[in-house]
């Protein structure tokens, strides 16, 4: 859990290279800076981007390092179900998992080298130890107009937990997504937010 004198809110965003984890992290980071918080974030670049597993750390109101300690995160935002399991050790015991249930099969699976676990079993496993909000963000994004806005659906879903006002986050969504896709992304954000508001 984030702690006094260290950080106010620690968020881990897990996903697959190409899903837009960096944009999701940027929206939240920029919004926090607008509300006068210090922000520290760590990103995966380079080799790991080519369809590999990626993880971003983002710490709000923190002036130390960007890396969240083990069992330190308040929320684990997973853009892909198996990646939620992969980075579970960063989540604190009373932390919350928000997980997109739409899987992306790695080449090791599509080529038949490994098998991909049953998504329901993943969610069940996560629920054994933590509070879980599972949603098919990819389907919601399609409904909003484009599957690529899945990352913004997830930002909407986590927005309820963040110590940042919704208006500021939405302002940053508008500023950071491509101009032509603002409407789709705003809609995506709201769809994601309504899931965790229930």
């Amino acid at each position: 859990m984030s702690a006094e004198g260290i950080s106010r809110f620690d968020l881990v965003i897990a996903g697959v290279g190409g899903q837009g984890t960096i944009l999701a992290s940027d929206i939240i980071g920029k919004a926090a800076v607008k509300e006068n918080m210090s922000v520290r974030a760590a990103e995966t670049h380079g080799m790991a981007q080519r369809g590999g597993s990626v993880v971003n750390h983002i710490r709000l109101d923190c002036e130390l390092g960007s890396m969240i300690p083990m069992k330190g995160a308040d929320v684990l935002l997973a853009l892909e179900p198996s990646e939620a399991l992969r980075y579970l050790e960063f989540l604190s015991d009373d932390g919350v998992i928000i997980v997109n249930t739409d899987p992306i099969l790695p080449v090791t699976v599509t080529s038949g080298l490994c098998s991909y676990p049953d998504v329901d079993a993943i969610v069940e496993r996560l629920e054994q130890s933590h509070d879980v909000k599972a949603l098919n963000a990819t389907e919601l994004a399609k409904g909003a107009g484009h599957p690529q806005s899945m990352n913004v659906v997830m930002v909407g879903a986590v927005s309820k937990y963040l110590p940042i006002s919704v208006d500021t986050i939405l302002e940053c969504v508008r500023e950071l997504v491509p101009q032509k896709t603002i409407d789709i992304n705003v809609k995506s954000f709201e769809m994601g937010r309504s899931i965790t508001q229930e």
């Binding site: 702690a3 004198g5 260290i6 697959v16 290279g17 992290s25 940027d26 980071g29 920029k30 800076v33 918080m37 210090s38 922000v39 520290r40 974030a41 760590a42 990103e43 995966t44 670049h45 380079g46 080799m47 790991a48 981007q49 080519r50 369809g51 590999g52 597993s53 130390l64 390092g65 960007s66 890396m67 300690p69 083990m70 069992k71 330190g72 198996s82 990646e83 399991l85 992969r86 579970l88 050790e89 099969l105 790695p106 080449v107 090791t108 699976v109 599509t110 080529s111 038949g112 490994c114 098998s115 991909y116 676990p117 079993a121 993943i122 496993r125 054994q128």
Partner: protein, 609 residues
Amino acid sequence: MSTREYMLGNVAIARGIVEGGGQVISGYPGTPSSEIIGTLAAMKDRDYYVEWSVNEKVALEVAAGAAMAGVRSVVTMKHVGLNMAADPLMTLAYTGVKGSMVIIVADDPSCHSSQNEQDTRRYSQFSLIPCLDPATPQEAKDMMPYAFEFSNKVQMPVIFRPTTRISHGKSDIELGPVNKTKPEADFQKQLERWVMVPKNARVQHVHLLELQKEILAELEDCPWNELDIYEDASVGVIASGIASVYAKEAIIKLGVNASFLKIGTYPVPENKIRTLMENSERIIIFEEMEPVVEEQVRIIAQEIGSRVEIVGKLQGPVPRIFELNTDICADVLAEVLELKRQAVPAEVTEDFDYDACRIDLPMRPPVMCPGCSHRATFHVMKKVYGKNAIFPSDIGCYTLGIQSGTVDTTLCMGGSITVASGMYQAGEKKPICCSIGDSTFFHTGMNGLLNAIYNKADITVTIVDNRITAMTGHQPNPGMGKTATGEQTTEVSIEALCRGLGAEFVETVDTYDMKQMEEVFKRAKGYKGTSVVITRQLCVIDAKRSGIRRKPFTIDADACVGCRLCVNLGCPAIEFDMETKKASINAMCTGCGVCAHMCKFDAIQEVKK
């Protein structure tokens, strides 16, 4: 207007270069350093010169020339790039500079995107060139204007060493004023200083050693070294660079009462270390990678006859490999100070024993993109040269060909052609076919090819030309006819270059034309001597960005016999259903058609509208 902005560490460093009034900036791409020049090249209203150079040695010399002429220069590279640029570096320490020069070398502890995890601070000790080591992206930005001033003051280049977590970390950054005054280039002839013949070098070496006292005095009390002595604290913690924020967090977490020395410069602040020693019974040192600070602390302890207990990595328990983090620092503090600590990472891993929960996670390694031309090249290469052939390779996206069985060695930039030559000269009888990318060929492959041809190596050199420096984030190179800032320039012909180096067998083929490629490789294999095959096709990411769209392909399930030939290509767009035993193509298909060429049953067809 707000002066605080949320930015990437490398963007903050670029901003620091602008604030400090940088005038000539050169570099060669390398993760995690690449975005510094990318950011500067993309800025509007540039009042500086910025270039992608062809390699780090060249880049360092360009920046050195600019600083000899009296302006402020910067060169950027990743840690291993400095090995290549070490030749000019070591003698530049003798000549010094007239303007200012900052040598930015980004280290990569844990090898996130690198072939080794060498520590640039060792080069600082080796060359006697001072080094700055930022703890946060903010400090990294703030250090740049200081580095220019300091360099000018001592008339020496300064090494600036961010690590991956600084360069690829993001943070709110408080912007500073921009230095608009720019000295004009005006080279002054001064043979005893700029011409390092033995007579002058001997004098300059003495000068370099004498200068160390002034450098140390200057750095001792600079803002990057901070000492906090706490009354009643018997423990002193020393932490350098980014390790200082991890150590601080661990100290807060464990509630340890410790005096704290944060180090941001090399040479290290000796007086502050002495003061800490006099006020502590035990000193614990946190630094990533090599025990550079620790060795200095031990030397100082011996000099002053201190009996303080020194804990670091020479005798453990601080690890000498990989990145540090808050957990490692807390574990060390807890162990050394005999404190209780919960949530030790090892226990966490035990808690989450995936096997026990019966959920095995599939591996998700980085792979070549769907439609990447390297995949086709490797497939044909292996078919023609055979599985037993030797395939030395190089550094770039194509290193991911390790999954295709066509990357047998990867040593360093340009180390494909040369390693291949050495194997041939050793008497190796198996066929040898190496691979190297366009940018890597311009970097150091050219020398290797010249050497291979000159010494009659009977090997095939495959230049996988995707017309961009892809792996590091799509930087332009001399083969593209475009500079860092997008200006048109001479488009260097790789074919003409190879012929100029003496190659007589040079053939170019479209990588997506598998049939033609196979014939070319067969001819190259049969050729006695050094043959060059250039397989050319735009990087798929770049092709997509420039608006090229191809029709995707589909698999006729009735025609598919489940032979898995296409699946074995390892393209993320091709899936195999274990139940139906049929392959299929997903939405990631870019329409390269390589799998259709391979299918023996004509089951793969272009999607018809």
